[in-house]
């Protein structure tokens, strides 16, 4: 290539990359701006609104309202219903983290050993995740139905006597029944994550352990479980987040009842705001829930960093 031609070509190229560079920047800003706008409109704005209304006695639709200072908060924090909802939230969260995680881990360990038809079982156990919480809730409402529900019919068949316990209508069992339904759905998700974690464990490690004299159980305990730490972190993070979001299934199955026995903070907030038209009061509950969530997530991510430091 002749010298002037060469120079022209490289110059054109440089111009080109300059334009591309600028176009790229525009694209980047655009692509970030859209989600940022959506996030602001649907998350940040309502959040700020909640903070604002939590200091008022707004009923949710009237134009006028008064500022009441911290009155909503003092009322919320002293009612028995709030304590009840807080305890239920705790039960709900702990159960929603522990049960699906343990069940998912168990299934993953079972299905990872080369048993026949493992793939079919994996698909079956994962299936509930593909259903919406509303559908899952409705399925379990039917299962728990006192007269013709699957559960009671099974118990009747086994015991030989008619059994008509109303699982969802008794304060003693309602929240636990919902937890069962929730766990049934979430187990598949934990299982899949643990299975992925298991495929990441080199076979050499379990084989060395075997030669070194570790029994199957010892190999699981001393080698497999410690190496599943990263997967466990992910499972627990998702469980926490999902359990805090777990409102729809409660809404479908019990609506917080009977007698507030399955009320969680989210459910309580919903009922106060939208059923009793106490938007200010409900906002105060949501602010408290927000702060609790923030604290949990903050603590959790600090732990996460520690785990990261051990495993690359």
């Amino acid at each position: 290539m002749s010298a002037p031609l060469f120079r022209a070509v490289t110059m054109a190229r440089r111009l080109d990359t300059g334009i591309m560079e600028r176009q790229n920047t525009i694209w980047r800003i655009l692509l970030l701006a859209i989600p940022l706008a959506v996030f602001s409109i649907f998350i940040v704005w309502p959040l700020l609104n909640s903070f604002y209304y939590s200091f008022t006695n707004w009923n949710g639709f009237n134009a006028e309202y008064d500022f009441v200072g911290l009155k909503n908060f003092s009322k919320v924090l002293t009612t028995r219903l709030f304590t009840n909802a807080a305890i239920n939230t705790l039960i709900w969260m702990v159960a929603a983290i522990v049960l699906p995680s343990l069940a998912g881990l168990g299934l993953a360990l079972l299905l990872d050993s080369k048993i026949r038809g493992a793939n079919v079982f994996k698909s079956i156990f994962y299936l509930p995740i593909c259903l919406s919480a509303i559908v899952v809730g409705q399925i379990w409402v039917w299962i728990f139905q006192p007269d013709w529900g699957l559960l009671n019919m099974a118990i009747s068949a086994i015991s030989g006597e008619p059994f008509t316990y109303a699982w969802l209508a008794k304060p003693g069992s309602a929240i636990y029944a919902v937890i069962v339904a929730w766990s049934w759905q979430q187990t598949g998700l934990s299982m899949v994550i643990f299975l992925a974690g298991l495929t990441g464990i080199p076979q050499d490690l379990t084989e060395v352990a075997e030669i070194e004299g570790a029994t199957r159980w010892q190999r699981t305990w001393h080698v497999v479980l410690p190496l599943l730490r990263p997967a466990t972190v992910v499972v627990i993070a998702l469980s926490v987040i999902n359990s805090l979001k777990g409102f729809d299934i409660l809404y479908i199955m019990t609506g917080g009842g009977p007698f507030n026995s399955s009320d969680t903070l989210a459910m309580y907030m919903y009922n106060e705001s939208f059923k009793k038209y106490r938007m200010g009061y409900g906002s105060a509950i949501s602010v408290i829930l927000f702060l609790i969530t923030l604290t949990i997530i903050f603590i959790y991510f600090r732990q996460l960093k520690k785990v990261d430091e051990i495993y690359d």
């Binding site: 490690l205 084989e207 352990a209 075997e210 030669i211 070194e212 570790a214």
Partner: protein
């Protein structure tokens, strides 16, 4: 006494036979190397000995005990993997003592044994580190440490040096050799690298497609390969093989053709008919450049010259043939690609193989 005895071992995966009847005796204290091309079944054979793989048929004896159906942990073997297989969440000391801790050996004794093994392997200063903080060579030392600490009857190594860079590989090879001289325990070592096999082994087992091709000391295999496969596999650069046939002139002694030349061969071919097709094997170091006037030289054309400093590799072919062979000459060869030269073989260093690839007699 033999430490390990393999009797007619067979193993199939998914109906495909991978180990096709292996018989082998390994003496106590011997350093045995299984060598062969990738996929020939070396690892499988080692895993059968360790018990990680269930045997198809045949039997395995270790230290006089039939262990064919005995689980790996009770066979008195330990294994070092190519990947090192260290537990990432345990320190070096914990990795090394894993088996002893499972066996509930008293803490004092574990500490003493870890310290001892660490001393031998010069990793005492690393005992508190995690595998992540170690180099490849250090990791492999820890893996070896984990093996010696259990004081097994037999050490098994599966390509332990393949993940290391070339310089470190040579160094670790020397150290493994020294370790063997020091502890004198039976070792079975798998590698696809014949140089490793030659330098480490008391006894080499050449495997090919699930069968043993030959067993012998490194020099036996080098000097008297039982067949074409072993002849080509052992020795670097590879032995050159030429398709040729037996020529017996009226009243003269037997000859084979080497390009345009004829090389006399001794009476090891006495039982063959003139015209029988043979393979002639000549190692690159047994070929040299000669003069055109010498009737025992063959004309050849140089394709490529590799100068390695102390020696040169000439890649050449006979006129009318495309098959390249290698000539190893000392120093910097004064020939260039495209040049015609005359190659002189050493008639006393010829290997002959029959139509089935079996060696004929031995030189």
């Amino acid at each position: 006494m033999s430490e390990v005895t393999l009797k007619d071992i067979r193993k199939s995966f998914d109906g495909l036979e991978i180990i096709k009847g292996v018989n082998l005796e390994i003496e106590t204290g011997e350093f045995v190397v299984f060598v062969g091309p990738s996929g020939c079944g070396k690892s499988t054979l080692l895993r059968l000995i360790s018990g990680l793989e269930d045997i198809g048929s045949g039997s395995i004896t270790i230290a006089g005990r039939d262990v064919t159906r005995v689980p790996p942990s009770q066979r008195g073997v330990s294994m070092v993997f190519q990947s090192y297989a260290l537990f990432p969440h345990m320190s070096v000391a914990q990795n090394m003592s894993f088996g002893l801790r499972l066996a509930k050996v008293p803490k004092k004794e574990i500490e003493r044994k870890v310290a001892e093994a660490a001393e031998v392997l010069q990793i005492t200063h690393l005992l508190d580190r995690k595998p992540k903080q170690l180099s490849g060579g250090q990791r492999q030392r820890v893996a070896i440490g984990r093996s010696i600490i259990r004081n097994p009857n037999v050490f098994l190594f599966d390509e332990p040096l393949s993940n290391l860079d070339a310089a470190l590989r040579v160094q670790m090879r020397v150290e493994i050799s020294r370790l063997h001289q020091e502890i004198k325990t039976t070792m079975i070592y798998v590698t696809h690298d014949q140089v490793e096999a030659m330098t480490l082994a008391d006894k080499i087992v050449v495997l090919n497609e699930g069968r043993i091709e030959q067993v012998g000391t490194p020099m036996e295999l080098y000097r008297r390969p039982a067949n074409r496969f072993v002849a080509e596999f052992i020795g670097t650069p590879k032995m050159n093989l030429f398709d040729t046939e037996l020529v017996v002139p009226q009243g003269g002694s037997a000859l084979v053709s080497f390009g345009s030349a004829l090389i006399p061969v001794d009476d090891r071919v006495a039982h063959l008919q003139p015209g029988a097709s043979l393979s002639l094997g000549l190692r690159p170091e047994n070929l040299e450049l000669g003069s055109a006037a010498d009737p025992t030289t063959a004309e050849a054309r140089i394709e490529l010259v590799e100068k390695l400093g102390g020696e040169s590799m000439l890649h050449a072919h006979f006129p009318g043939s495309k098959d390249l062979f290698v000539v190893n000459v000392a120093g910097e060869a004064a020939v260039r690609p495209g040049e015609t030269v005359h190659i002189k073989p050493d008639p006393d260093a010829c290997y002959l193989f029959d139509g089935n690839g079996r060696a004929i007699g031995q030189s």
